[in-house]
Amino acid sequence: MRAVTRQPDRGVRKLGFALKVRLFMRSLSLQASWNHERMQNLGLLVAMLPWARRHRGDLNRDRTFCRRYYEYFNTNPYLANFVIGGLVRLEDDRAAGLDVPLGMTATFRDSLGRAFASLGDQLFWLGLRPAVVMAICLLGLFWQMAALISVIALFAVGQLVVRWRSLDQGYRLGLDLVDLLQDKRWHRGIAAVERTGMILTGMTAGTYLALVTDSGLPVNHNLLWFGVAVGLGLPVALRRRLPGEVLILVALGLALLLTFAVLLSGS
């Protein structure tokens, strides 16, 4: 037998519906048992168990199966189903008698996991999340509660569709998932989403400034503008990203300073 390095062409393969539903449901809790040492290892194993139950072998086979998936694993949860689909395909091929070396599963899991983690971080955490957050803040500034909940619901449904479809795609491509990673549309998509996020950030800033200047609040407007300018400029000047919780305390300190300045000036 010859070890496979590319996905052997055996016609279009699809996951069975019942197995796909089980894999999908479990993949949604991939991070439930997240730990610092091996991250999503238990989540991955639990997601793969429906396949193991369907192909129940002797005790030794079950133990080997668990060992294969109990090592370090970490990827982006929204794109994890590409990897899970691909791993199920490798298991299917092995069960069908193809020569899939044991080490290949680990190599596939680790390298694909890392690649999708990097793509997912850029697309979801640094791209989509700031964009969606700024969109809902913009709607919040105009007091549009139903609309902002709808935006979140739209994202929720969208990411579930991506996860559902990527399970099939990962299974269909198997080892050829590597080709998918080279698709230029990933990076074009990331750039577009980041740009959208930047524009929405600007729009939120602009709306906020317009509302502050138009608020008619009985506060010293010069000081308020000074505070807003310091607020906008401080993180950029510090060149550090502080957790929001720390920024609340920084803002409180700044507000106290400004208030004392008002008191001292007697205005």
């Binding site: 639990v46 803040c137 600007g202 729009m203």
Partner: protein, 261 residues
């Protein structure tokens, strides 16, 4: 082990003693605990739909208590200031969900209603929003320790799974995973209920005792937070890479909000 079970036996009684008669009612507390548990699951453990984002949490909690507008009033400044908290290369993980559910619940259940900080000339009302935002910040920071403890427990339970690598009992793995899910739900729900009691009994009454200068500073807080949050996000994008797009969006929306709407 026996001291731990002793704590568990005393805890419900202590909690019962801390609840003022019917305020907040047990029903409200359990409902908010359930909501906080579910939203805590959504944050990392299950689905990650982003309904656990602060603004959505605020509005949903407000809606459950019958006043979504108050939820929006607290949730919006918190969302803006936490916008830069991304789970990438960051070791700090606050628990904003439980803190926010408790804060919104405490305000609405106390019979107060909050409005947009830009829509009221009443500085005391804006100061109350600031006071609650400070509470969310402090309690969310404290929640970081709880989350880290939970993750350490995950690690110990994961090690327990090594027994399956010897005896091949697959069900054990599923049980450990389900235990982790349940722990997250319980942590979120219980934390929210405890914080709700603290906020309702101590934090909210303390607002009336604050000196005027602190109240004035708190009134300024919700107006400063969005600037800091947006500045933090611009720093995340990189000023050089983002300034043109951000400036363009700012000019257009400022003009539209000021002169068209």
């Amino acid at each position: 082990m026996s001291s731990l079970s002793g704590v568990w036996a005393v805890l419900p009684a202590a909690l019962l003693a801390a609840v003022p008669a019917g305020d907040p009612s047990w029903n409200s507390m359990l409902l908010l605990g359930l909501l906080a548990g579910l939203l805590s699951l959504d944050e990392t453990a299950l689905m990650q739909t982003w309904f656990s984002q602060p603004l959505a949490v605020g509005v949903l909690t407000g809606a459950v208590c019958g006043d979504p507008a108050s939820g929006l009033a607290i949730g919006l400044p918190v969302q803006l200031i936490l916008a830069g908290n991304l789970p990438v290369g960051q070791s700090f993980t606050g628990d904003s969900v439980s803190a926010l559910v408790a804060a919104v619940g405490a305000v609405v259940l106390s019979g107060r209603g909050l409005v947009s900080v830009f829509g009221t000339p009443d500085l005391t009302e804006i100061a109350l929003v600031g006071w609650m935002v400070v509470a969310v910040g402090l309690f969310s920071s404290a929640g970081h320790l709880m989350i880290q403890m939970e993750r350490r427990a995950h690690f110990l339970w994961m090690l327990e799974g090594h027994r399956t690598l010897r005896d091949g009992r697959l069900r054990r793995m599923e049980a450990i995973h389900a235990r982790c899910l349940f722990t997250t739900f319980l942590r979120g729900g219980a934390t929210a209920i405890i914080l709700l009691l603290v906020l309702r009994r101590l934090w909210l009454p303390a607002f009336a005792q604050l000196p005027a200068v602190i109240v004035a500073a708190l009134a300024m807080l919700p107006l400063l937070l969005p600037g800091l949050g947006i500045g933090n996000l611009i720093e995340r994008y990189g000023l050089r890479a983002s300034w043109l797009w951000v400036a363009g969006g700012t000019v257009v929306s400022f003009a539209v909000t000021r002169f068209v709407l």
